[in-house]
Symmetry: C2
Subunit: 110 residues, 2 copies
């Protein structure tokens, strides 16, 4: 799987519109979960592995590479951490959390 970049054809869009590249990137397994988790603070590779209970090191490493190349996270002395863009992204997807709890989950209670 190649890195989706805005402006280039990606999985799902020959036009490479930024939103499609972003959806391709975030649509890969664990990508959003990693961003979600790192908002709490930097984590090491092994901490991320423990957090994402069933991720394999192979996949984790691939996702980390992709997210780094996409400028959403970086390595620091404390481990992997969100960049400015990564934090912005988190703040955009954050409302999903409360919506999922308060509106969406209720539809499954029947």
């Amino acid at each position: 799987m190649s890195l989706p970049k805005p402006g280039q054809p990606v999985r799902g869009s020959k036009s490479g519109q930024p939103i499609m590249a972003l959806l391709d990137l975030l649509g890969r397994s664990w990508a959003m979960g990693i961003v979600w988790h790192l908002y709490n603070g930097p984590s090491t590779f092994r901490q991320l592995q423990a957090y994402c209970e069933s991720i394999s090191p192979t996949t984790l490493n691939k996702r980390l590479k992709e997210l780094r190349e996409s400028h959403l996270l970086e390595r620091t002395v404390e481990g992997y951490a969100l960049t400015k863009e990564g934090k912005e992204l988190y703040e955009l997807i954050e409302p999903l959390g409360s919506w999922a709890r308060h509106s969406w989950a209720k539809k499954f209670k029947s």
Copy 2:
């Protein structure tokens, strides 16, 4: 792949927190693209297939089933359409579009 439901263990979380179930669901290939597209109005199966240029009918059908069972879309006389919840969800992820264009894409121009 089984349908992720809030309150049950899902890919990535034994707790089944709604947000994790949602991320699992949306993280599957094309799921967000389908929601994104349907906000413009209902589409038939073949229209969706044409829109998602490289999706296979097998995968499209699976995604549609999952999204229907998750109450995000439904079948109408005009084809597949977003439910009230689906529209709410779209409106939550919609800001990603302008962020991707205006902030994120710029990081790749170097």
